[in-house]
C-alpha cells in the first residue's frame, strides 16, 4: 500500500436544486486499498462516484485523482479510471469480443486479438466470446464489464454495487478479481449494500450519512454483526 492516497476528496459539496446531497465530505483512498462505501438509499453514494468519475461537477470542495482535479482537469483523470456502474456499457447486438474491441479502441488502447482473448479468458467468457451479448445473463454482462475495465489497467476503480444480481459463484469469482486488482496497486472505491463476504474485499468501511462520511473504520476491527449494527445506527441519520 502506497503512502500517498491516489484519491483525495476534501470538503466536497454537491447541491441538486434545493437538496444538499453532499455536505462537506472528505475521504482518501490509497493505492492497493479497497474502501467499501455504505449508506442508505439516496445518501449520495452514487453522486460521490459520479463526481469522481468526472460525470458530475461538484458545487464546492475538491476531489483529486493522482493529483489531477476532477472538475478542472477531467481529461487527465479519465484515462486513469475504471468504472463499473449499473449499466454494463455493452451493445446487445455486438459479440463479447466486438464489445471489448470497441471500448478498448475508443479508450485509445492498442489491444490486439491476443489481448482481447486473454481478457475474455480472464473473466471466463472465452467460450462465448463470439456470441451476441443479447444472450448473456446479468452476471455475464458484469463480467464483460470487468474485462473491459481490466484491459485498461486503471489506477482507480469505481464500482457501483458490483455484486448485485450475481450468484454465489460469480460473487466469489468477482472477489478474486478485485483482490487481484488491489494487488496490482489500484485504488478501489466500492458502493455496496451487501454485508456478507463481499465486504471481504474491503480494507476499510466508510458510511455516508448526512452528506458526509459518518464513520470510517478498518474492516478487520469489526465482525459482521458489528458492521450491521453500525450501519443501522449511522445510516439512519437524516440531513
Amino acid at each position: 500500500m502506497s503512502l500517498d492516497p491516489i484519491v483525495r476528496v476534501s470538503d466536497l459539496r454537491k447541491v441538486f436544486g434545493l437538496v444538499r446531497v453532499l455536505d462537506g465530505l472528505s475521504l482518501d483512498v490509497h493505492g492497493g486499498e479497497a474502501v467499501a462505501l455504505l449508506g442508505a438509499n439516496g445518501a449520495g453514494k452514487t453522486t460521490l462516484l459520479k463526481i469522481l468519475a468526472t460525470l458530475v461537477r461538484p458545487t464546492r470542495g475538491t476531489a483529486t485523482i493522482a493529483g489531477h482535479d476532477v472538475a478542472r482537469a477531467p481529461e487527465s483523470v479519465r484515462p486513469l479510471l475504471g468504472v463499473v456502474a449499473h449499466g454494463a456499457w455493452v451493445y446487445d447486438d455486438l459479440t463479447a469480443r466486438e464489445n471489448l474491441k470497441f471500448w478498448s479502441t475508443l479508450g485509445g488502447l492498442h489491444a490486439d486479438g491476443d489481448d482481447l482473448a486473454a481478457a475474455l479468458a480472464g473473466v471466463g467468457l472465452d467460450r462465448v466470446a463470439d456470441a451476441r451479448v443479447r444472450t448473456f445473463s446479468a452476471g455475464m454482462k458484469r463480467r464483460l464489464s470487468l474485462a473491459r475495465v481490466m484491459l485498461a489497467r486503471p489506477r482507480v476503480l469505481l464500482l457501483d454495487e458490483p455484486f448485485a444480481g450475481l450468484d454465489q459463484r460469480a460473487k466469489k469469482w468477482l472477489e478474486e478479481r478485485l483482490e487481484a486488482l488491489k494487488a496490482s496497486g489500484a485504488a478501489l472505491l466500492m458502493v455496496t449494500h451487501s454485508f456478507g463476504r463481499e465486504l471481504g474485499v474491503a480494507d476499510r468501511l466508510a458510511v455516508l450519512a448526512g452528506g458526509r462520511i459518518a464513520l470510517d473504520t478498518p474492516r478487520g476491527s469489526l465482525g459482521p454483526d458489528d458492521i450491521q449494527r453500525l450501519y443501522a445506527v449511522h445510516a439512519e441519520e437524516t440531513l
Binding site: R78, P79, G87, A88, D92, L94, F102, G107, G108
Partner: protein, 225 residues
C-alpha cells in the same frame, strides 16, 4: 493515428449494430413506402403537377427520413448506460462525432437510394442525364442534414421531449440546405446546365463546410456530460 481509429470504431459499431438489429433500417424502409403511397394518392393522377412538385416531394421524403434516422442515432447508447461510456472516453470527442456522422451518412444514403429508386419506378421518371449532377446534390444535401443532425441529436438525446425538440431545432437551421437542394434538383431535372445551378451547389458546399467544422469544434462541449 488514434483519432481516426476511434472515429472508424464508432462508425463500424453503429453500422454493425444497425446491420444486425435492422431497427432503424426497417423503420425507414416502411416509412419510405408509406410516403410513396401518400404521394401517389395525393399527386399521382396529374403527371404535369407531379413533375412540377417532384423535387420538393422527393426532398420532403429525404428530410422526413433523415429526421427519423438522425433522431434515433444516439438511442442505441441509452441501453446499458453506453452513453456514460462515451462521455468518459478519453481524448478528443469529435472523433465520436465523425464516426457517428459517417455511420448516419451511410444509412441515409442507402435509404435515399431506395426512395429514389421507388420514385423512378412508380412514377416513371427519367433521370438519365441529370444523374451525375443529382448524385452530387444528394450527397452534399445529405451531408448538410447529417452534419447538423448528428450534433443536435447528441444535444437532445437526454432531454425531455426529445422527439419534439429535435425536429424543431433542426428544421429551421436546415432551410438553406432544403432550398438549395430542391432548387438544384429542379434545375437538373429540367435539363438546365450545371452553370445555372452552380450557386446552389456553392451554397451547399459552404453550408457543409461550416456545419462540419462547427460540429467538430463544439462536440466536445456537448459530450461533456
Amino acid at each position: 493515428m488514434s483519432y481516426a481509429r476511434r472515429a472508424l470504431a464508432v462508425a463500424w459499431k453503429d453500422l454493425a449494430v444497425e446491420r444486425r438489429s435492422k431497427e432503424t433500417l426497417n423503420a425507414l424502409v416502411f416509412f419510405s413506402l408509406l410516403l410513396l403511397f401518400v404521394f401517389q394518392f395525393t399527386l399521382g393522377g396529374d403527371r404535369e403537377r407531379l413533375a412540377a412538385v417532384l423535387p420538393g416531394v422527393l426532398w420532403l421524403g429525404f428530410v422526413l427520413s433523415a429526421l427519423l434516422a438522425l433522431g434515433r442515432t444516439f438511442l442505441v447508447e441509452r441501453e446499458h448506460d453506453c452513453w456514460e461510456g462515451l462521455l468518459l472516453a478519453p481524448g478528443d470527442k469529435s472523433a465520436i462525432y465523425l464516426g457517428k456522422l459517417v455511420g448516419n451518412l451511410a444509412l441515409m444514403l442507402v435509404v435515399e437510394a431506395l426512395v429514389l429508386g421507388l420514385f423512378v419506378v412508380f412514377f416513371d421518371i427519367d433521370l438519365g442525364r441529370a444523374m451525375p449532377g443529382l448524385l452530387a446534390v444528394v450527397l452534399l444535401g445529405t451531408l448538410g442534414l447529417a452534419a447538423v443532425g448528428t450534433l443536435f441529436a447528441a444535444m437532445t438525446a437526454n432531454v425531455r421531449a426529445r422527439e419534439l425538440l429535435f425536429p424543431v431545432l433542426l428544421l429551421p437551421v436546415q432551410v438553406p440546405v432544403l432550398l438549395a437542394t430542391v432548387k438544384a434538383t429542379e434545375g437538373l431535372l429540367l435539363g438546365e446546365p450545371l452553370g445555372a445551378i452552380a450557386h446552389w451547389v456553392k451554397l451547399l458546399v459552404a453550408a457543409d463546410v461550416i456545419y462540419v467544422v462547427v460540429s467538430v469544434l463544439t462536440f466536445d462541449v456537448v459530450l461533456e456530460g
